[in-house]
């Protein structure tokens, strides 16, 4: 087990290294120049040059890369071009908001997706299942920006029951009213982000459940005197959840940095929004930091998913016998 973990972590670090290096070069291959954005024409040439040198942008690419790596190992992700604060600090400011959003999404996806999937499987072919199937197809095929704007339009502008964006109504409040305020701001982005994942969760749970309910051991469970509820809860669910957990786990890793569109539309101050801003500002260090965070998140979620699946399914031996 520990040997397995060490191997997985080493492989994860390699993945992260490759992804970070790729990011470094891809960011610099973008067809515009951060210098032109950073330095204003009012500055004296000396001041401009000083600034460029301060950020090390005058050096050859490989030298920049070497420096970047050295700094990375020291835990220093550099300083943001646009905000002029350390990238680490900037990321850490934003990360909790993204995690909060993701947490809400996970609760929604698992809390609704699994029961609905089970319901559909139990009523396979009947109208309940058909309604669910239609919803799932819609959920999977919907274009996320579209659903985001639709939600905003309906609930924020039309009915005015939800805030239009941001994470809280300024000025920042305190205590319960602040929590409620944040919760209210959280609703629409969560829903927007959850739709596709929820549809996937329902579909995988439903299909997994239908397969599992045909297994011989389900018949054995009935033959022992279990009723349908007991069979589903004690015998089928754990087996049926294995594919669902695998899929959702991987998607969540991606979402840490991938909620760019949703966070931008709802002005949610998370990592996705940060990436959007950083791209606009050609803020190399921030972009690199964000992608590092994304790579770490994917690797970590992969590991967690594998551990959860191994816990669900004892046939999977972590790292072999």
């Amino acid at each position: 087990m520990s040997r397995y973990l060490i191997r997985r972590i080493l492989r994860g670090l390699l993945t992260i290294f490759i992804s970070v290096s790729l990011t470094f070069f891809i960011v610099r291959a973008m067809p515009s120049d951060p210098v032109s954005l950073m330095v204003s024409p009012q500055m004296t040439p000396e001041a401009q040059q000083a600034m460029i040198e301060a950020y090390g942008l005058d050096q050859p690419l490989l030298v920049q890369y070497g420096k970047f790596l050295v700094q990375l190992f020291q835990g220093n992700l550099g300083t943001s071009f646009s905000k002029h604060i350390p990238v680490t600090e900037y990321l850490l400011q934003r990360l909790p908001w993204t995690l909060m959003l993701l947490g809400a999404v996970i609760v929604l996806v698992l809390g609704i997706g699994i029961p609905v999937g089970v319901f559909a499987a139990r009523h396979r072919g009947k109208w309940g299942d058909r309604v669910v199937s239609v919803m799932v197809t819609l959920g999977i095929s919907v274009f996320i920006p579209f659903i985001s704007f639709l939600l905003l339009y309906l609930f924020a502008f039309r009915f005015k029951v939800m805030p239009t964006g941001g994470a809280y109504t300024p000025p920042k409040g305190e205590g319960l009213s602040y929590v409620l305020d944040v919760a209210k701001h959280l609703v629409l982005p969560t829903v927007a982000l959850a739709v596709t994942n929820l549809a996937n969760a329902v579909m995988y749970t439903r299909n997994g459940m239908i397969d599992v309910l045909h297994e011989d051991y389900i018949r054995t469970a009935y033959s022992k005197g279990n009723n349908e509820k007991q069979v589903i809860l004690h015998h089928a669910l754990k087996n049926a959840m294995i594919p669902t957990v695998t899929v959702i786990g991987l998607q969540i890793g991606v979402m840490v940095g991938g909620a760019v569109v949703t966070e931008t539309v709802f002005s949610w101050p998370g990592v996705g929004r940060l990436i959007y801003d950083a791209v606009n500002a050609l803020d190399y260090p921030v972009l690199q930091g964000a992608f590092l965070l994304l790579a770490v998140a994917v690797v970590v979620m992969n590991l967690i998913t594998d551990l959860v699946v191994a816990w669900l399914d004892p046939r999977i031996k972590l790292g072999g016998k």
Partner: protein, 328 residues
Amino acid sequence: MAAVVEFKNYSMGFKDDDGQVFNLLDQVSFQVVPGKALGIVGESGCGKSMTSLSMMRLLPSAAVVQGGEILFEGKNLLAMSDEEMSKIRGEKASIIFQEPMTALNPVLTIGKQIGEAIQLHHPEVSREEIQKRVIQALEEVGIPNPETRIHQYPHEFSGGMRQRVMIAMAMINHPALLIADEPTTALDVTVQAQILDLMKRLKGTGGLVMVTHNLGVVAEICEEVVVMYAGRAVERGTLKEVFDHPLHPYTKGLMASIPTMSSGKEPLHTIPGTVPTVYDFGPGCRFADRCEHCTQRCRQQSPPEKQVGEEHLVQCWLSFEGEENADA
């Protein structure tokens, strides 16, 4: 002696996608007596598995009960609520399936799966007591180191060991009826011998139903036999009567077509043709197409069940010495 289970003219069939019902089991009658083992033999598609599943009311969803009764300790199973049925399953009646590899839940420990049978029917029993009983049951079926084995999962057991686990699980509440549906078909011969030996030892006071295509297995374990063909119980009686004096042309043909360890090299007796499926059943005797004694009447009318001798019934239009109409 009062029967544990009695089938009275039980009929069932299958619904196809268009809702049309095809009859499979037709007017099946037999009974299982406490302390005795009944063998249900037949080839694929004869309905032997559907008979065993009917006793547990575990039929697949496409199955339709078409008539008759299945009396379990005098009460009609078919009229019971799902709740009543759940109370019988695993407590008074248990079943062992063919495939030990897939019949156990892969994600639960053996101990939990066996213990569940106690827990469901005797919620008052403590955890420690359940564990004690499970260990004892595993010991009885010959699984070494039961104390460690209860914490293991099915994939850590061999095929023969899994079938032992299934037996322990089915026997844990000392049911009045144990149904074994092809319990040794998936096993190697030497392991089959072990399992048959075990079942003989554990048979005890309950009734045992052994469903199999293997006449040898029936001869090994059973005192009574029902020979099924295409959904009908064509011949039934004591093992000795049916095996030593088979009457129905199908039973006779079947017996003669099996190579045994003492067969000579002369050509085997064969029954021409193949086993019909539910879609091919005619109005008359379902064996008619393959029978050497077939007459016009056989094709048109379903044969009556005749009593030949004290404990020997046969469904055939042929005349037998000392026959009586069983319905009379």
